[in-house]
Amino acid sequence: MELVWLIPALPVAGFLLLLAVGRKLDEPFAGVIGTLAVAGSFLVSCVVALDLMSQPEEKRQFVQTLWVWMPVGSFHVDFGFLLDPLSITMCLFITGIGALIHLYSIGYMKGDPAFGKFFMYLNLFVASMLLLVLGQNLLVTFLGWEGVGACSYWLISFWFDDKANATAGKKAFVTNRIGDCGFMLGTFLVWVTVGSIDYVEIGRSAGAVVGATATAVALLFFLAATGKSAQLPLFVWLPDAMAGPTPVSALIHAATMVTSGVFLLSRLSPIMEHAGWANDVIAWVGAATALLAAGAAVAQNDIKKVLAYSTVSQLGFMFIAIGSYNYTGAIFHMITHAFFKALLFLGAGSVILAMAHEQDMRRYGNLRKYIPVTFVTVGIGWLAISGIPPFAGFWSKDEILAGAWAVDGYGPALWAVGFVTAILTAFYMTRLMIMTFFGGVENWRNPELLADAEPEVPLGADADAVEGADGTGAEATLAHAATATDTHDDHHAHDEHHGLTPDHTPVESPTTMLVPLIVLAGLALIGGLLNLPFSHRLHFLKEWIHPVIVGEHELPEAAVLWVLAIVAITGAVVGIFFAYRVYQQRKVDPAKLEKPVLAHAWYIDDTYAAVVGGPGEAAFQGAADFDAGIVDGAVLGVAHGTDAAAKVLKPVQSGIVRTYAAGVAIGTVALAVFVIMRMGF
């Protein structure tokens, strides 16, 4: 267990090495170094995890203090790591999936002029993320929290030549900043009430944090979580973050960083236990986010945007679980989601590469013939996220829904929102699958569809000319293509690669990209084994993290679980079937479903833009004018006054000593005269 420091140290070493020599290395080597650093970290995590498992349950907590970071009087912050089942679980999937995505990036970033820089940032990201989860106290976690934020910013705007990418990075950074205020205030409040920001100490004396204080702490940290984990009202940055390279979307904006809010609240479960109605707020914000984002995902045409809104929605599920004291469910779903969403993103990256960096699904179709490995692996991801047993997503989502059902008072309502979201999830993911891999029509073969950035007319006219594999597909009208009005969404990652032509033949991706897809597909298939509901002996994850979590509520009894599971499966099948009718069989005009309000994600982002850009900007301009006029005016006024006075008084300092002497003499005499007169002589 003493090796725990090595887990973050290896990616740091990789980062430093790439920082020093990354530019000079030939192309694959920078990637190899980066991948090896993270893979080594994964191996160390495995060793440490096995060591931890061999300990008796009550000894599974190990604090490694490296040095005293800030000694300030009686208050001191140590730089160190807290190793326990929760942090090592996080480490395992961060480094495991991280290594796979590094490997994938070697293929995906091939030929990029900043190849070495990319891996440098990725390694730094992994190191920061590991600091975040391993931190012994809130401040070390905050260091990692800011580190991942900075890396996220650098990587979103990795192709900063395109202004849209740079703007997306800034948006993510600024939006996260709002959440970070919550983190800092929460930390201060914890320190004031507990007297320490150590997790161990917080766990020991959480009894001191009660009532309104606990609620306030929980809400402040939840504000931090809404920023990092893209919940209402701060989720707007995540869809824009898709401007980054796809491996980044997979690693940072799907699998790891965005789950750090869930991790943080699980870590603070001793406080959450006393937080009262803050948990209701968290559950309902999660539910609202899940539902709204799933609705928005239905109408996106950019393949990565669908997955982005899907991620927001799935994170909403995790917060439902947190709010219903179902921490195992949240962490379980965090892990399975990391598997299948990383898989889906990497699969999308493979599709995007095969389609000459085209991300608009309206120009896809029938791709299963060309990229079969990608198709099969993404298919597994699709079934997993849709909640079809025995794939991983089913088990974790079901556990969250069951936990929601068990909440006092409004449980069934919370469950219903989750259930509707689950149906929508199955629906939009099936839509993605059909538009990309099925549909019978190879839409990019249609020059008219390719010509415009925004196809305006129904383009089904030529569809008969294209060979339709399914027969039904030939009847397809692409009327739904006309409905897309997402104007700001269509900045494609980097236009210089944009070379999709009607005679394009999609090619399967290289092995370095397919291996991660296959491994992740395997994990998405069997990930449910972590915590099967049938028997207490199969609750591996629950038993494992049980010592760390305080105040977890029990799930309903088995009979209820069975009923809920069957209802959930039915919902998923209904969602898939409905999407099949709409997009494959074309029984319903998709335009009726893909409303502009959905394509614009309920206009939340547009509202922010209008408010911040209109009255907001005026207010900020006012503040700036106040600063320039009043504050600066006062400061400058003092300076100018001093200057003017100096000009008047300057001649006094003539530099001639005799004048000074005369001055002293006159002064003395005057003083003497005055004293004598006053004394009456």
Binding site: A646, L649, K650, P651, V652, Q653, S654, G655, I656, V657, R658, A661, A662, A665
Partner: protein, 106 residues
């Protein structure tokens, strides 16, 4: 013949001290040679010393004489520094006219 009996009371000494002080102060303001100005300062210091001694005698208090010793010591130190500066100035310039050395004007 009558014997003019001069009784030297302490007032005499004080008057002499005042005269010496005035001469020194006037010299400081009038003369431009640094060395002479320096001597004038010394004159003023010694005038004060004289008045201290006179008061010590008149009031029968040894404190005044003690102060004189301090003044002498400080004056000696001052002479060392002051003369050093004046010598340095003399080496760099033709003369040592105080009015020419006005680099420190505002």
């Amino acid at each position: 013949m009558f014997a003019l009996e001069l009784v030297l009371t302490e007032s005499w000494y004080l008057v002499l001290a005042a005269m010496l002080f005035s001469i020194g102060a006037a010299g400081l303001m009038i003369r431009r040679n640094l060395l002479v100005m320096f001597m004038c300062v010394e004159l003023m210091l010694n005038a004060v010393n004289l008045s201290f001694v006179a008061f010590a005698r008149g009031l029968d208090d040894v404190g005044g004489q003690a102060v004189v010793f301090f003044v002498l010591v400080v004056a000696a130190a001052e002479v060392v520094v002051g003369l050093g500066i004046i010598v340095a100035i003399m080496r760099r310039r033709q003369g040592s006219t105080a009015d020419d050395i006005s680099l420190m004007r505002g």
